[in-house]
């Protein structure tokens, strides 16, 4: 039994009831326990010092400690029923040390001075054991201590303080509205996460952070029994680094699109989206099957975010480029020689992609990463040229840089931190342009909205993406809905076909709440911003089959 399976099972929660792979970390608690205050900051500082002193005394040249309390509340409903509610808390300490130029890591749920000192000693012992077979000593980029600092996600409404009943009522209303508008089945879920993390290191940093994330989502299913067909449409929400205020559905955060479509920026109207989803799913049942061929694609931010994630986010992770993920996720086509050449055309000159851990409301926005580095923004692709990667303290030196990018993250106190993707976003176009005007300029195209099927090779060249909604564009007009659409391309070819980007008024973020990486696998959450973007002459296939 794998560790995660065990935890799922022991919670007898999501895993047992849904047979789902959604990672629930920690022990089941009551909703009230989720509201208990975080441990006293002075106490955490004392405990952190116990770890740092114990590690130093045993010979560590560097150490950091994370005292973490990770809270989750996940709600699952289907039609008129509440299927499951999980409330989970995970509390403990992870200690990382360098001895003889080698990392060692240990973790414990025994958050007492004795437990922590023993854990630090174990970390040192593991580092010592591994140093005998180490061939590449750790070269840690310097990081000046930041002293005692605090950072909190700027939320307006703590989702954990909203009564469970209120959230259930919302989800059941979402289901009921979708059913009234033609859905045969609906599932709706609400995921809420709060990370209370205290980080300290021998550099002299004591960082207390309170991080919030939320993700409302649903799937609507429409059935045509006579035709033997079923179609689904998922929510067009985005997971966000926000509190429950994301659920307010503010009119000012809605971006009207063609054909009655609505884009949601920093506020989500779940009921409205569910009604639209039911109506659109019915339309999907009779939609025309696409004719395979070359089309100009107009990609909505709620779709393009995943393409950015897979074709730019993952290939520019420096640890992948170096080969550390070779046995699992793979390596990368974006090799160091391409970066060194300063002339590798990743995309057309319109393409400017930034890594950013400071953008408000995003999943990747924090004050400091899990090795105490203050967060920042930097360029990955500038005017179409590959200019940088995503790196941690022990790898950034390879790029000739003296300061880490701040990309280190662990999904739990018991997991060792490693390189994880920051928000990676496409900058909006500088010229004034909205989606309606963009569509007017397309002769033969497809407008794609929402996250669908996705697959990309282990070096991130060849990919195939589907979506939730596909509209045919003929001579500048939307000509109706299409079905069986997926596009295939090669990363460099695709980004070089980027022809037009809408302006900043159209900019929104997409997010991935459970992005997996590493062995044993860890999850992380990351956002990708963009405006609607046009790509010319992309290969579209027809995915319809008969069995």
């Amino acid at each position: 039994m794998k560790r995660r399976d065990f935890i799922q099972w022991s919670g007898m929660g999501v895993g047992a009831i849904l047979g789902s792979s959604i990672p629930v970390i920690g022990r089941a608690v009551t909703p009230e326990e989720l509201l208990e205050p975080a441990a006293d900051r002075a106490l955490k500082k004392r405990l952190a010092d116990v770890a740092l002193n114990a590690a130093r005394a045993k010979g560590a040249t560097y150490s950091d400690v994370r005292i973490g309390r990770y809270l989750q509340q996940f709600l699952f409903t289907r039609e008129k029923n509440v299927q499951n509610i999980t409330n989970a808390e995970s509390y403990g300490v992870g200690i990382r040390v360098i001895v003889n130029g080698t990392w060692g890591f240990a973790a414990t749920s025994d958050v007492t001075p004795d437990g922590i000192a023993r854990c630090a000693e174990t970390a040192v012992a593991i580092a010592k054991a591994n140093s005998r077979i180490q061939t590449e000593p750790v070269n840690l980029a310097p990081q000046k201590g930041v002293g005692e600092v605090v950072w909190n996600t700027p939320i307006q409404k703590n989702a954990f303080q909203v009564p469970v009943q209120e959230k259930i009522d919302l989800l059941l209303n979402v289901n009921s509205q979708a059913m009234q508008n033609g859905a045969a089945f609906v599932t709706s879920n609400l995921f809420q996460v709060n990370e209370q993390k205290y980080f300290a290191s021998t550099d002299g940093s004591y960082i207390d952070q309170d991080i919030h994330r939320i993700w409302p989502t649903f799937t609507v299913t429409v059935i045509d029994k006579a035709a033997g067909k079923f179609k689904t449409r998922d929510a067009l929400s985005s997971p966000m680094g926000m509190g429950y205020e994301y659920m307010d559905g503010l009119a000012s955060e809605k971006i009207p699109g063609p054909n009655g479509l609505v884009g949601y920026r920093n506020s989500y109207d779940m009921v409205e989206d569910a009604i639209l989803a039911a109506k659109q799913s019915k339309e999907k049942v009779t939609a025309k099957s696409v004719e395979a061929g070359k089309y100009d694609l107009v990609l909505d931010p709620n779709h393009l975010g995943l393409t950015i994630h897979e074709s730019v986010g993952h290939p520019t992770e420096l640890d992948r480029v170096l080969g550390y993920e070779a046995n699992y996720a793979g390596t990368s086509f974006a090799t160091l020689d391409k970066w060194r050449s300063k002339s590798f055309n990743y995309g057309s000159p319109l393409v400017n992609i930034v890594a950013d851990k400071t953008q408000p409301h995003t999943l990747g926005c924090v004050g400091y990463d899990d090795e105490g580095v203050p967060c920042k923004q930097w360029d990955i692709i500038k005017n179409g040229i590959l200019v940088n990667y995503q790196a941690t303290r022990d790898q950034v030196g390879i790029l000739g840089e003296k300061e880490s990018h701040g990309c280190c993250y662990a999904d739990d106190w018991s997991s060792v931190q490693f390189q994880r993707m920051p928000n990676v976003s496409l900058l909006p176009g500088k010229e004034k342009l909205n989606v309606n005007d963009m569509i007017k300029g397309v002769e033969k195209g497809i407008y794609i909205i929402g996250r669908g099927s996705y697959s990309i090779d282990q070096q991130r060249y060849n990919f195939q993406f589907g979506g939730q909604l596909f509209y045919e564009i003929k001579n500048g007009q939307i000509a109706g809905m299409l079905d069986d659409v997926a596009y295939q391309s090669n990363t460099q070819e695709f980004w070089n076909s980027c022809a037009q980007i809408c302006d900043k008024d159209d900019y929104r973020t997409f997010g991935s709440f459970f992005d997996g990486k590493g062995q044993p696998s860890q999850v992380s959450a990351v956002s990708h911003g963009s405006s609607t973007t046009r790509f010319n002459g992309v290969n579209v296939i027809n995915t319809g089959r008969k069995i």
Binding site: S10, Q464, Q488, T543, G544
Partner: protein, 439 residues
């Protein structure tokens, strides 16, 4: 001590049940010790070991249920946990689909799920496995990246209606990717067992190394329909996806590949080639499984597909009760019958075809037809006149296992992959839709 005996587990569970005041109470108790080592670039990157022992109490009043968990085992903590589960249950919304707990059951005892050799794995064993693998690659100027994980654990459960179940198990999983220094060749191998005595990490590394070297200098073939030989690792990924889609409720509701046009299901229909037979059997010594599933149902030998005909679908207890049928739990590991030929025999008997080591990044494209997409990876070769002629560039495929299992040319001897027994498969007209530059 994370691994409790049957008697130790029963004693704790009975004690917890003695505190219970709810209409129904279930207790589950599980413990595990798991260790891992990860290496890349011919050096160890991370290693670790952890233990867990936890108890979950589920209390039920009418159709309201609540669960609380604890990892302390003194009387006071246990009683507190029962009270907390009862409190959560009282506040929980009613679940109209709640089905009362099962009473005592007869379970087949499967001792082979546990092996002392696996339980005895320590950091030195893991380090040696990693080092051996690294050394093989270093000698050939190749780069290895691999991962070994071993787990020893037990599950026990009991409830206020007298049900009790206990099983202990071990597992060890090893995977390795070997790449040439110039990045133009890549090979992969994987093994998983309950008993570590069967594991041979060095042998897997040799296979992956040989594939890495042999896959250098790949030539591009035009995408299209080809006869393929899927090694068991490649075949397993697609067939496992299909076996996870046997849910009866989805089929009855009209949203499954097993739903029938006009209503009803395709149970009893011949959907596959008549040589296709797939069943599950917890007592199979190659892929032993505990005799029960975690909602207390016994795990029995079940035929899912027989001679191409869909024989059974999987049920939740709620849906089975509603439909008035036996509540067959879904298959966990399964056995796909094959032939006696080896992979080499299948290659020998192929005039023109493609050998696929494994698939990667498989995602559902259309749940209606079970169409999946993904790519070949870590060793794809062109076969001509019974011999491997040369390596070829990787392909993206768009294919449904349902269509694939209608195009069976030949099947070899099944081997264990991810807890199932899967034969190498020779399939005609397998759809490759584009080329990939990835190595």
């Amino acid at each position: 001590m994370a691994i409790l005996s049957r008697e130790e587990a029963k004693k704790i569970i009975d004690k917890v049940l003695s505190y219970a005041k709810a209409d129904e109470t279930a207790v589950s108790l599980g413990g595990s010790k798991t260790g891992n080592i990860r290496y890349a670039r011919n050096t160890v990157s991370t290693s670790g070991e952890s233990t867990n022992l936890a108890l979950a109490v589920t209390s039920v009043f009418g159709k309201r249920s609540g669960t609380a968990t604890i990892n302390e085992f003194d009387d006071e903590s246990l009683e507190k946990t029962v009270r907390r589960a009862e409190e959560i249950a009282r506040l929980a919304p009613e679940n109209p689909e709640y089905v009362p707990m099962l009473g005592p059951q007869q379970y087949t005892e499967v001792k082979e799920t546990y092996a002392d050799a696996t339980a005895a794995i320590n950091p030195e064993y893991r380090a040696k496995a990693a080092l051996d693998s690294i050394e093989i690659c270093k000698k050939k100027n190749l780069t290895s990246a691999g991962y070994l994980e071993d787990t020893t654990g037990f599950n026990a459960m009991g409830n206020s209606k007298g049900l009790f179940a206990y099983n202990r198990s071990t597992s060890v999983d090893f995977s390795v990717t070997v790449r040439t220094e110039d990045g133009l060749g890549s090979g992969y191998a994987i093994q998983d067992y309950n008993d570590a005595r069967k594991l041979n990490a060095a042998a897997s590394t040799e296979v992956a190394a040989q594939k890495a070297l042999a896959s250098k200098g790949a030539l591009a073939l035009e995408p299209g329909k080809y006869t393929v030989i899927l090694e068991p690792v490649a075949a397993a990924d697609l067939i496992q996806n299909m076996m996870r889609s046997l849910d009866a409720r989805n089929a009855d509701e009209g949203r499954s590949f097993l739903s029938k046009k006009g209503g009803g299901t395709r149970l009893g229909e011949k959907l596959f080639d008549e040589r296709v037979t797939i069943y599950s059997d917890p007592t199979n010594p190659e892929i032993p499984q505990s005799g029960f599933v975690m909602d207390g149902r016994p795990r029995e030998k079940t035929t899912w597909i027989e001679k191409g005909v869909v024989k059974n679908m999987a049920y939740s207890r709620f849906w089975a009760q509603k439909q008035g049928v036996k509540a067959l739990p879904p298959p966990f590991g399964f056995i796909m019958e094959g032939g006696n030929e080896s992979l080499a025999d299948l290659i020998k008997g192929t005039k023109k075809g493609i050998l696929v080591t494994r698939f990667w990044y498989i995602r559902a494209v259309d749940p209606q037809t079970l169409l999946y997409t993904g790519l070949t990876r870590d060793g794809t070769f062109y076969i001509e006149n019974g011999k491997i002629k040369h390596p070829i560039k990787n392909f993206r495929f768009n294919e449904s296992p349902v269509i694939m299992l209608n195009n069976v040319e030949a099947m070899g001897k099944p081997v264990r992959v991810n807890g199932s027994l899967i034969p190498p498969l020779k399939i005609r007209d397998f759809t490759f839709s584009s080329l990939s530059d990835a190595v």
